[in-house]
């Protein structure tokens, strides 16, 4: 029984990924390259060696967190497209705290720097949440606008105010050793932290009243209001927590992978989060396999270009097709499995 339910839930995402890869193969073939060789290169570089796996998990870490941020929004009936901006803001704030604050031991400096990331990410999420709760402005527009505003803002901050001395590129100085996230057995330890957090979020939605409140608001606003749940408060909480988790993802990226803030990094992580959240069916644990798959593809795309002569942007296209196949109901109908369709608040007035 449980097995049947499991396959009904997860058959659609799995087949969606396979269909997207098949369409991608046709496009690679049309371009005159060998799709088998390309995919073989992609997967052997992503999962074929310990160093490849370490790279994949490193890439997957911010993706787990951005997927979680989108998931929390979806559960509360919000479509948080602003994960990108929240993550970048967190990445900048954590990197700033990582190089600017001196003289602290690692067990204080590192958590403080990460908290900076969380706080700034949450702050950006809260702006969109407050505009939604108090002015009724749809979060899709505000978060997209905030993404662009933050992109310009951090470009200015890293390129002028907090630029590395003597540097032409827009980037901050390197973070101090006391703010660097150490690896465990040459595996990125941020990843394990992200997994723990995913379990934490799952537990909150599964076992606590706060999670239940958010979920009730997401399913039916008027029913939630009637039951005495504050819709405004739920919107604020969902956006702030989602933004904070996204900011943490950016912070881990800065402190564990890049070692500083550079605006040209971190692009697209937030948008992959949307694909991952929908692929994981808005289930906090469901984001993990999606994040590992996409992290692997992102990490190995450049090697695939070298081996098979396929443009790395094929990954963008495959991910777009994954998103299409996983949300469009034709696959689910054909497979007789449950549909993915997330309910989010359409329309501008509510």
């Amino acid at each position: 029984m449980a097995g049947k339910k499991f396959s009904r839930t997860w058959l659609t995402p799995v087949v969606a990924v396979l269909v997207a890869f098949a369409i991608g193969a046709i496009l690679i073939y049309i371009q005159g390259a060998d799709p088998l060789k390309a995919y073989q290169s992609l997967f052997s570089h992503a999962f074929g060696s310990w160093s490849g796996i370490a790279k994949t998990l490193g890439k997957a870490t911010p993706l787990v967190l951005s997927g979680l941020a989108v998931t929390i929004g979806l559960r509360a009936g919000l479509f948080n497209i602003g994960v990108q901006g929240q993550l970048v803001m967190g990445a900048f704030a954590a990197a700033w705290a990582g190089y600017f604050i001196h003289g602290l031991p690692i067990y204080i400096h590192l958590p403080v720097a990460l908290l900076f990331g969380v706080a700034f990410g949450a702050g950006i999420g809260l702006i969109a949440g407050a505009l939604k709760a108090y002015r009724g402005i749809h979060e899709v527009i505000t978060t997209i606008m905030l993404n662009s505003i933050i992109l310009a803002l951090v470009d200015y901050l890293a390129g002028h105010v907090f630029q590395e001395p003597g540097q032409i590129l827009a980037r901050t100085p390197h973070i101090l050793p006391s703010a660097t996230i150490p690896n465990i057995f040459s595996m990125p330890s941020g990843f394990f932290f992200a997994i723990l957090l995913a379990y934490g979020v799952w537990w909150v939605f599964q076992r606590t009243t706060s999670g239940f409140r958010l979920e009730t608001v997401g399913r039916n606003k008027s029913a939630a209001w009637y039951a005495g749940i504050s819709v405004k408060r739920s919107v604020l909480i969902a956006m702030a927590v989602g933004g904070g988790i996204a900011g943490l993802g950016g912070g881990i990226e800065s402190l564990g992978v890049i070692g500083r803030f550079e605006p040209t990094f971190n692009t697209g992580l937030g948008f992959d989060g949307i694909t991952i959240a929908l692929l994981g069916r808005a289930n906090p644990l469901g984001v993990i396999p999606g994040a590992i798959l996409i992290g692997g593809m992102r990490g190995a795309a450049a090697s695939m270009q070298f081996d098979a002569g396929v443009a790395p942007e094929i990954v963008d296209l495959i991910l777009a097709l994954v998103l299409f196949c996983v949300t469009a109901p034709f696959l689910a109908k054909w497979l007789k499995s449950t549909e993915v369709g997330a309910k989010i608040s359409s329309g501008w007035g509510n």
């Binding site: 479509f79 505009l131 002015r135 505003i149 002028h160 942007e313 109901p329 369709g341 359409s346 329309g347």
Partner: protein
């Protein structure tokens, strides 16, 4: 309502007086700034029309950004391959229509959540265009057409009658859409479908057909806006070069109360702020870092929404699926 009407006229009067004052000071620069305002504002206005056409029949379209990006891409590379700006524009309009049909298919036939359907159009357009993009291509762009006699009128000649062809087509289209929406039976039926599809259905209007038709035509308008961006305004195509215009257009649509004239006025105001900022930067009167200049339209969008939200009412059936009742 009366209070707002007087506010609107007061603002118009103020703008006319200010423009007149600057024109008496320096006619050349003032004409060029106002003309630039139209050039910057037009793609936003056209993109807002896409939103209005869809939402008036009850379909939310947040895929406008994707439509712009994709049709601008198809238009540019068709123009490049055929060495003809005309074929480029035609191809862009066809591409836009295709994206409209896809949105209609997802949101009407498949009954998908319309916000997710629009997001899919955006992400698909980004993925497809960045995969297919090849650097180093050039394409013929549309050339300016000065309307005889009219372009000789001082001020108005340069502002209104010395532009590329898509500006004229676009402006006429916006006026036609306004008249059609409020003074034809098609417009009445469309608005009825957007407000109360059940009643429209009872009165014999096919909700599905009209929604399909309008969303597809809206896609074509989006294609024209895309063609304008790559073949008339910028003259090239780059990854993500639409820079959120499709989303700003949605804000302008809301600010303009789902009325083509209102959205046009809002878009022109946006264009004007950009044109004035550019002029101030160019003549070195103020020095603001580029990044803050780039932020301006996004901040304005949020401010505009914060002002207009709660005071405007969207079409009632927007974003909802329509199920025909079984007898």
């Amino acid at each position: 309502m009366k209070k707002l009407l007087s506010f609107k006229w007061l603002l118009t009067l103020l703008l006319v007086v200010i423009t007149g004052y600057f024109y008496s000071k320096d006619g050349v620069i003032t004409s060029s700034v106002v003309s630039t305002a139209l050039i910057f504002g037009l793609p936003l206005a056209l993109a807002a029309m896409v939103g209005i056409m869809c939402e008036r029949t009850g379909i939310v379209n947040i895929g406008i950004e994707g439509t712009l990006l994709f049709s601008a891409f198809v238009g540019f590379f068709t123009a490049s391959a055929t060495d003809s700006d005309f074929y480029g524009v035609v191809a862009a309009v066809i591409a836009g229509t295709a994206s409209g049909v896809l949105l209609a298919f997802m949101s009407i036939s498949w009954k998908m959540d319309q916000i997710i359907a629009g997001t899919i159009i955006n992400i698909l357009a980004t993925g497809l265009t960045s995969f297919l993009y090849k650097q180093g291509h050039t394409a013929p762009t549309t050339s300016e057409i000065d309307i005889p006699w009219l372009s000789k009128i001082p001020f108005f000649g340069q502002v209104l009658f010395m532009h590329g062809p898509i500006v004229y087509i676009g402006l006429v289209l916006i006026f036609v859409l306004y008249v059609a929406l409020f003074h034809t039976s098609w417009g009445l039926r469309s608005r009825a479908v957007g407000e109360h599809p059940g009643s429209a259905d009872t009165a014999g209007v096919s909700v599905f057909k009209l929604r399909y038709l309008n969303v597809s035509i809206a896609g074509a308008v989006g294609g024209l806006a895309g063609a304008y961006l790559s073949l008339e305004l910028v003259g090239s195509w780059d990854r993500g070069f639409t820079a959120g215009k499709g989303f700003t257009a949605l804000a302008l649509m809301i600010f303009g109360r789902w009325n083509p004239m209102g959205a046009l006025a809002a878009a022109m105001f946006f264009g004007l702020t950009q044109a004035v900022t550019n002029q101030l930067m160019f003549s070195q009167i103020v020095k603001i870092p580029d990044q803050f200049v780039n932020m301006l339209p996004y901040i304005l969008t949020i401010v505009v929404l914060a002002i207009s939200a709660g005071k405007v009412r969207p079409p009632a059936a927007e974003g909802q699926q329509y199920e025909k009742e079984q007898a």
